[in-house]
């Protein structure tokens, strides 16, 4: 599991709408906010960095959201997985190697 702490910058006139939108993502939690200045701090939980990017993209689809700026990432579980071999990068080296030999 990867956690990303990010700041959502938005149009302060549409604060309620943005808060509701963020709340609709089950993997996103609101931590802090400054509604008058159009900033909400969120933490996103995802299986991979791609999941975090997908959430970012989905948030940016709203024209009330101006930017999603990432500040910190925690990937400890994934590192443990990589080191003890539970998590394998999803590139199949053997397959590719075989294919090359056939060429």
């Amino acid at each position: 599991m990867i956690f990303a702490a990010s700041v959502v910058y938005f149009n302060a006139n549409r604060a309620g709408e943005v808060e509701k939108l963020i709340a609709s993502f089950p993997n996103v939690e609101i931590y802090d906010k400054d509604m008058n200045k159009g900033k909400i701090v969120i933490v996103t939980e995802a299986e991979s960095a791609q999941g975090i990017e997908e959430t970012e993209k989905a948030l940016l689809e709203s024209d009330a959201v101006e930017d999603v700026a990432h500040y910190a990432f925690h990937f400890g579980e994934e590192v443990e997985g990589l080191l003890n071999g539970d998590v394998k990068p999803d590139i199949n080296f053997e397959e590719i190697f075989k294919k090359k030999r056939g060429q």
């Binding site: 990303a4 931590y31 933490v43 500040y71 910190a72 994934e78 590192v79 990589l82």
Partner: protein, 809 residues
């Protein structure tokens, strides 16, 4: 007992507290700040390893492993501490199972066999000594990288130039920054920009040319975009052949046919002067008009006459950029009050790269857009330490530390004395060679087997770079690397390692620490956070082992140390002592200061009390004015606005440079112009980013971007496989049919390692006559439909087994 849920909550609260602080929000959740330490054992300060923006980070370490990454809120580069997706995935590089962890020596059957460090280093020693004796000291070369630390580049440079008496030292910045260096020296008299990133938030007009900033420097682009959003009156002009994401924030897009932008810059200069928008005071007091190589001075009137033919209509006919856009851009640029130009490889990687750079500087000279907040002519660097590590340490074949030419006797003598070359050099000359060594393209075309009399270079150490994939017209250089005694230092198997005689496993930046210096003259220390895997070692340690075995242990004093942090510090002190009396001085940036500093230090910084310099050449801001004699300069009393002290008369050169296109031209057979570059998620030859599943997945393979009208004419549909062919070679690539490029112009990214998609097999190896930088941006190609769509999203990487394969597949 701490449950899993509690631990996760701790981690999340800790990260959120940091983000709140970065955004200037007081954390709401009680205790959030107190939990900030729970996620990691300690946060170690450093710099992002990827692009040239130089984002400052903290690496979170728990139980000796990197487990988190956060931005540095005090950073002056990534203001507020924000990071992009490339930066955040860096841990997957460090912990990838493909990491090289033991030295490898190629056996008689062509297989790389594991070896001990002693065996690998003994072989290197034996070969170097043999070649020095048999073929001379210039037969052994070093080819470094803008990704090595400053301490590493300085040490290899010192070892070769002073220890071996050989200038056979070059590096991959030759392929990316050499034109910028040549033009800063020619126009301003000293390398690197006068201003800094903070000019972004002071500018009224930002002129982005030859730079797809949104993909190549994402955080810097975000900084520009945010500033523009908050200040809609600020104008952004984007001048590039493709309408990339960068142009999305532009008030004006200036398209042009690749290789023709010199005409645009001259056209803008003409328009500015013709309308009386030029800065007469700056021109009269701070500019010098020249023709040819700059030695012949001409009058302002003669310059005006020279550019007179560049009417907006003429510019349109040459470049394809609408005349109205040239007029509009000229007015915005000249009348903004503070214009900031930023460019990158689009200007540098060209056969007329130095001239193109000069012409942008010209625009600033005639409008007085120098030396005031928000006004500067600013070259962006592509790698994290091309500026600090290679330009400033002078680790190119024609330079010495301080970025001064090796041919300049007074400085060469000073460096010789500082290094005590006469006492230490193993070359009987006992001196630094006054003759420059070979630039990258020449070096690799001169590299070959022991028994090949046509190849004078017999051995090369290649560190942290991948020339077998990154050199243009790659086919030309592969046999040389394969036949010579090639030593590769890297963290992963690469195309270059595939050709190597010896492969040495390297430590990653957070496993060794060291200084990186980014585009804005800022040096920042990364502290070692974790240990390297297996037998991997820092490059600095490797340089020291070579030095000791070559009888230069005393000369490279830090080779007696074993602790890498101490070695780094000693190398840094030696370097800052060497350049203390140059304008590049970082004498005040002691290791103790760098260890404490959360912002890094910008040169010139002559002493520990000096804060570092935001603007060069401006009295009261630039410390060179306090004691010019110390730096070898003469500056008159009472300088008012600006003084370019690197130039003999303090005035910047305005060059008469025509628009002659020296790039490869299209022909009936090769009717398209191909340009190459980066995509957001990938970096350079993909050795790191193709191993990160997220970034590999975003761009698993290369492609050719072609205009919809061209595709229609050629019967090419979205996804069809297309043959892109030049006189040098070809690629088979899936087509991306787009409308954001010009007709007749195709684009191919450079990260794919698969042999039939390595774009540099196609690229032109024409080089700039002044900088010797290759012209990656303009190649004439033909395009034919090869087949229907084929899935090539295989995310190919050269793996360990591939290193035993003599052919690229």
């Amino acid at each position: 007992m701490i449950t899993d849920i509690t631990r996760r909550n701790f981690i999340k609260a800790a990260l959120a507290a940091g983000a709140a602080a970065a955004a200037g929000i007081a954390p709401e959740k009680a205790g959030a700040q107190e939990t900030a330490g729970a996620a990691v054992d300690n946060w170690v300060k450093g710099v992002c390893r990827m692009c040239g923006t130089g984002c400052s980070v903290y690496v979170g370490v728990k139980d000796g492993k990197m487990v988190a990454m956060k931005g540095n809120v005090d950073s002056k580069t990534n203001t507020k501490g924000f990071l992009c997706v490339k930066g955040m995935n860096i841990f997957k590089v460090a912990y990838h199972p493909d990491r090289l962890t033991t030295p490898l020596i190629r056996d008689a059957k062509g297989k790389l066999q594991p070896a001990t460090w002693d065996e690998a280093l003994s072989l290197i020693e034996k070969k170097f000594k043999e070649y020095h004796k048999k073929f001379g000291y210039d037969s052994v070369a070093y080819y470094g990288s803008g990704q090595c630390t400053t301490e590493e580049s300085y040490t290899f440079n010192k070892l070769w130039k002073g220890g071996f008496g050989s200038n056979m030292v070059d590096g991959n910045p030759r392929l990316c920054m050499a034109s910028a260096v040549g033009a800063y020296l020619g126009s301003l008299g000293s390398d690197e920009p006068a201003g800094a990133y903070e000019d972004i938030e002071k500018a009224k007009c930002i002129f982005l040319t030859g730079s797809n900033t949104s993909e190549a420097h994402p955080i810097l682009f975000r900084r520009i975009a945010r500033y523009k959003k908050d200040n809609p009156g600020v104008k952004v002009i984007v001048c590039e052949p493709r309408r990339t994401k960068t142009a999305n924030i532009a008030d004006l897009w200036m398209p042009f046919k690749p290789g023709t932008d010199a005409a645009i810059f001259n056209g803008m200069a003409r328009e500015i002067i013709k309308n009386g928008w030029h800065d007469k005071d700056f021109i009269a007091n701070h500019s010098r008009f020249t023709k040819g190589d700059g030695s012949e001075e001409i009058t302002f009137e003669e310059y005006v006459k020279f550019i007179d033919k560049y009417t907006p209509e003429f510019v349109e006919s040459v470049t394809g950029c609408p005349a109205a856009h040239v007029k509009q851009a000229s007015e915005i640029f000249a009348k903004s009050g503070a214009s900031l130009s930023m460019w990158c490889m689009g200007l540098n990687q060209r056969s007329n790269g130095v001239f193109a750079n000069n012409l942008v500087h010209n625009l600033h000279a005639i409008t007085g857009m120098f030396g005031k907040p928000g006004a500067d002519s600013f070259s962006l660097t592509g790698q994290p330490n091309a500026c600090g590590g290679v330009r400033e340490t002078g680790s190119l074949s024609h330079l010495l530390p301080g970025c001064r030419p090796v041919a300049a006797e007074p400085w060469r003598k000073k460096v010789e004395a500082y290094w005590k070359v006469s006492e230490n050099c193993i070359n009987p000359s006992k001196a630094i060679n006054p003759k420059p060594g070979m630039h990258a393209v020449k070096l690799f075309s001169s590299l070959g087997a022991e028994n090949d009399e046509t190849k004078p270079v017999k051995a090369v150490v290649i560190s942290t770079t991948n020339p077998a994939q990154s050199l243009p017209n790659t086919n030309r250089f592969i046999p040389g690397m394969r036949d010579a005694f090639t030593v590769v230092i890297d963290i992963f198997p690469t195309r270059t390692a595939q050709l190597a005689s010896v492969v040495l496993p390297a430590a990653f930046i957070y496993e060794k620490g060291g200084v990186y210096g980014c585009s804005e003259r800022r040096s920042f220390l990364t502290t070692k956070a974790v240990n390297p895997p297996g037998e991997a070692k820092p490059d600095l340690w490797i340089a020291c082992q070579i030095a000791k075995r070559m009888g230069l242990g005393k000369y490279i004093q830090w080779s007696g140390e074993e602790d890498i942090s101490k070695m780094n510090e000693m190398a840094w002190n030696d370097y800052t002592g060497c350049t203390a009396n140059t304008e590049k001085t970082l004498k005040g940036a002691t290791y103790a200061r760098l260890k404490k500093s959360v912002t890094g230090v910008q040169w010139p910084c002559p002493d520990e009390k000096h804060p570092g310099t935001y603007k060069r050449y401006v009295p009261g801001m630039d410390p060179i004015f306090d004691d010019p004699a110390r730096y070898g300069y003469k500056i008159p009393e009472n300088v008012k606005r600006i003084y370019f002290y690197g130039r003999p008369d303090g005035r910047m050169n305005v060059f008469c440079r025509g628009h002659e296109n020296t790039s490869e031209q299209t022909s009936k057979e090769y009717p398209f112009l191909m340009t190459t570059g980066r995509v957001l998620e990938q970096w350079h030859t993909g050795t790191m980013t193709m191993r990160i599943p997220e970034t590999a997945q975003a761009h698993p393979n290369s492609f050719v971007e072609i205009h919809v009208n061209d595709a229609k004419k050629l019967g090419i549909k979205q996804g069809d496989m297309v043959k892109v062919e030049s006189v040098r070679g070809y690629n088979i690539l899936p087509a991306r049919v787009v409308n954001m490029t010009l007709e007749g112009v195709v684009f191919v990214p450079m990260h794919d390692q698969k042999a039939d998609r390595m774009v540099n097999f196609i690229c032109s190896d024409v080089i700039d006559a002044g900088s010797s930088e290759p012209d990656y941006k303009v190649s004439a190609v033909k395009i034919t439909r090869f087949s229907g769509p084929k899935n090539v999203a295989e995310r190919y990487v050269v793996d360990r087994k591939e290193l035993d394969n003599p052919k690229f597949s």
